[in-house]
Assembly symmetry: C2
Homo-oligomer: 505 residues x 2
């Protein structure tokens, strides 16, 4: 992902009002050191307590150097060196001998071909126990009363401008989700609709009284139905926000500079929640059918949101950028001619007379993998990036980035899944060179070569997907069987069985 | 549509910081008078000239009273009185004896059951000729050189707070589209990609030179591909904007106060463009299959856009409104408790501690047909409404409304259409009580009762759809066969045959 930030800013902002270029990104973290040797999180340990609604509830990562791999890989120092070798690009998976990941989840990863010093992807797979903060009725919780909740959690984090943000998110985002769910432990296990209002202090009565509402003609006479599902979605959304705020607060002390895309799966009470902020992707392959479970957030897919913000808050554009989009760079000699453009309201194109302001650099430019916000970053949602500035400028880019995920919900109970039905998560290193259909074909090919109850089949599938995107070294590059270039990016893949032997247990 | 604006504002804004209510809307137009007797527009008359990119290119409507029906109905004074009768609610269609609408289009309408004094829907169906403004090469146009373009046009306009805006739009919006297309006459008929830049003055060379662009690493090194189709989309989008600006400029002189939803179809060079701003709807029924050709824009579907604007520009909310959404009204005694809420970033719900600001009225409230922006209006896109204020307040609502349509494109040449394939346009009076599937069933039932080459079958279908939504007077109301209430709103329907005897000619 690093190249998404570095890009060729130098050549781009040098005219049209912007200052001259600077060769390197100011946001790269300091040099890496040895892997963190922190033990894996105990899946059912009681969580840290924090105030409801406050911004920094979860435990912080200890300050340390920024290179590590997911603890579930159980890498020795030698293994870590091999995982860090750009020349060999060995595929990494959890050892067959150790404890399997929950649900027999498959995982594989490979480092990039040299675009950044270390693998900037990170991953997390946990079972998290949520103990309620207190009873909904307001009475202090008795230890024996009520059951906590358990959720399964998978996360992929694709870092850019350093691995710090991705690592921090991989250690803490599920703790933020856990924190957000504490208020909901009893509510989610109660079949009745959630209370709209909770008491502020234990002992105060809950309120869902509507006797003071206005008459039936009003648009405001009824109360909206809020589902349990939407509470979980809200909890995940807020967890992303709190994670992002924590990064803002702690970025200097903990080398969590840079940013990361986050793709997260939560399984809770029969439903799978897929939350995506960035350009990773999740698909379900079910009986050969592909069900998209995320969309990518890029300067192209979010063009109108970005342009609207630039239009409403022109101070965010400085004197360097225009919120208008043009199909190519305008040259000063074209002043007064008429150029195609789009503004924040348009999906089509029209001609406008070129004025002096139009010579500024467009807020959104480029296509496909080269699309950029402010000539700098190629993803528009994610965590971190609080220090990210336009190259050689003090203009912050963060206001244009959103930390909020899109959350899609899949009800596992609505369909009888077989062991070949899987949810595949991958960072863009996979999807840049592999289509959904190719993934589905690999799912079919690999899983059919294993017994349905062989728990190693999902790891084998994850490895096959990573290998298929990486390719093999040939003709001065990593190449696919069709001789096209493989992905030179970090590649990380989870394969989550939806009807496998270990699922839901 | 009137009730969408009047609503029960009185009861709503009276606490939480807003001033007391006022019983009637300040935006109702003056009393109506007799129908305009303006002749139908000549379909191929040369359009008025106007400068490119200026805001008011099209002819203005003469100042006059605001009650009229579409000229193609050819209503006599007596017929006009019958069309205006809320008790009889006679269905109106163009006479069988007169000239048929283009493509043998079917049309039917009926007045509301008393919610507003007159039918506030309007309709337009035209064939419009576009003469190029000048040749793309910059040379002065010779009369014999190049061909103009012809487009077919259908528009439905659902007015609120008076019929003035709908009437103005029905007379002028196609002229704005015509104006926007003038620059494109030669470009659209040339198979090569559109020029990205046009000369400002005749004789100056066109430019698509890219020799001065930066190197291949840049996000800005290439030029975007702009399709002919996206130019037509841009032309329609800008026409809506210019129409809206014209209403702003002329609203006092021409009684075009109030506003209207606009649903417009343009057929040009083999493609159907469906542009929708509001809560009307278009569907294609093709071989029994339903293809949605629009989406509705309401406070619920546009909640996040509205909330984002209120968040970024809090001055637009005054001291009366909060951008947060709550599932029911908060009572002052609940201060300090925790209430479910959503902000502009959230699709799920979470709890927050109620603070004083949260007692303000929510920017978006209510559900379904009762959803409102600022407790006032139930649609969020359309034309006009420049004078619309929050009841008993000076707060303008227009900043939250968008005049930009969503445009969907359907390529007629990609499928061999039969005479039973139709595009159905309807104002919300139809869709409030009729599902897409019910419309498709009526299409099948009515069309199969007529010979495929009988051009009156589409009028019969439009009438059947309007009758089916209106119902019959029974039990002190208009009721459907299932005894549910029919629509008391104005109902207007176009049925456009996609493979009928007169299509495309």
């Amino acid at each position: 992902m690093l190249s998404r930030v570095r890009s060729a800013v130098a050549h781009l902002v040098s005219s049209g009002g912007a200052p001259p270029p600077r060769p390197t990104s100011p946001d790269l973290p300091s040099a890496p050191s040895a892997q963190s040797a922190a033990p894996p999180e105990a899946p059912r340990s009681p969580p840290a307590r924090a105030g409801s609604g406050s911004a920094a509830p979860a435990k912080t990562v200890e300050a340390r150097a920024s290179f590590s791999r997911p603890t579930f890989l159980q890498l020795s120092p030698g293994g870590l060196r091999r995982a860090d070798d750009h020349a060999g690009r060995a595929v990494q998976s959890p050892p067959d001998t150790g404890r399997r990941l929950p649900w027999s989840t498959g995982y594989a990863e490979v480092i990039n071909a040299g675009k950044s010093r270390h693998n900037e992807d990170q991953a997390c797979c946990e079972v998290v126990y949520v103990e309620g903060r207190r009873s909904v009725s307001g009475a202090p919780r008795e230890p024996s009363r009520g059951q906590g909740l358990c959720f399964y959690y998978w996360g992929l984090f694709d870092g850019h401008a350093g691995g710090g943000a991705a690592e921090m998110a991989s250690k803490l985002l599920h703790r933020h989700i856990q924190e957000q769910l504490k208020d909901l432990v009893e509510i989610l296990q109660d079949a009745s609709p959630p209370p709209l209002c909770l008491p502020s202090t234990p002992g105060a009565p809950g309120s869902s009284d509507s006797s003071h509402l206005v008459g039936p003609q009003s648009c405001w006479s009824s109360q909206k139905e809020v589902t349990h599902e939407s509470l979980v979605v809200g909890a995940i959304e807020n967890a992303f926000q709190f994670m992002d705020e924590q990064m803002a607060q702690e970025r200097r002390g903990h080398q969590a500079e840079g940013g990361c895309c986050a793709l997260v799966v939560v399984y809770l009470l029969g439903k799978v929640y897929v939350a995506n902020a960035g350009d990773s992707r999740a698909i379900i392959v079910r009986n050969g059918e592909i069900i998209p479970m995320s969309q990518e957030f890029t300067p192209e897919t979010e063009r109108q949101r970005l342009q609207l913000l630039g239009f409403l808050k022109p101070e965010l554009l400085g004197s360097e950028f225009t919120h208008l989009e043009f199909p190519r760079r305008i040259q000063p000699k074209e002043l007064g001619q008429r150029m195609l453009y789009r503004d924040q309201n348009m999906t089509g194109w029209a001609y406008k007379k070129i004025e002096l302001e139009d010579l500024r650099f467009p807020l959104v430019c480029g296509e496909g993998k080269k699309a950029r916000v402010m000539a700098t970053i190629g993803v528009t949602r994610g965590l971190g990036d609080h220090n990210l500035k336009v190259c050689s400028s003090t203009l912050p880019i963060k206001p244009f980035l959103s930390c909020f995920p899109e959350v899609r919900v899949y009800d596992l109970t609505q369909y009888e899944h077989c062991p070949d039905d899987v949810l595949v998560l991958g960072t863009d290193g996979l999807w840049d060179v592999t289509s959904d259909c190719e993934v589905a074909a690999t799912v079919d090919r690999v899983l059919s070569a294993y017994e349905p109850n062989d728990p190693s089949r999902y790891t084998a599938l994850a490895q096959a997907l990573v290998l298929g995107a990486r390719g093999t070294p040939r003709d001065r590059g990593w190449r696919l069987p069709n001789n096209k270039l493989g992905s030179g990016d970090d590649i990380s893949v989870f394969v989550i069985p939806l009807g496998g032997p270990g699922s839901y247990s």
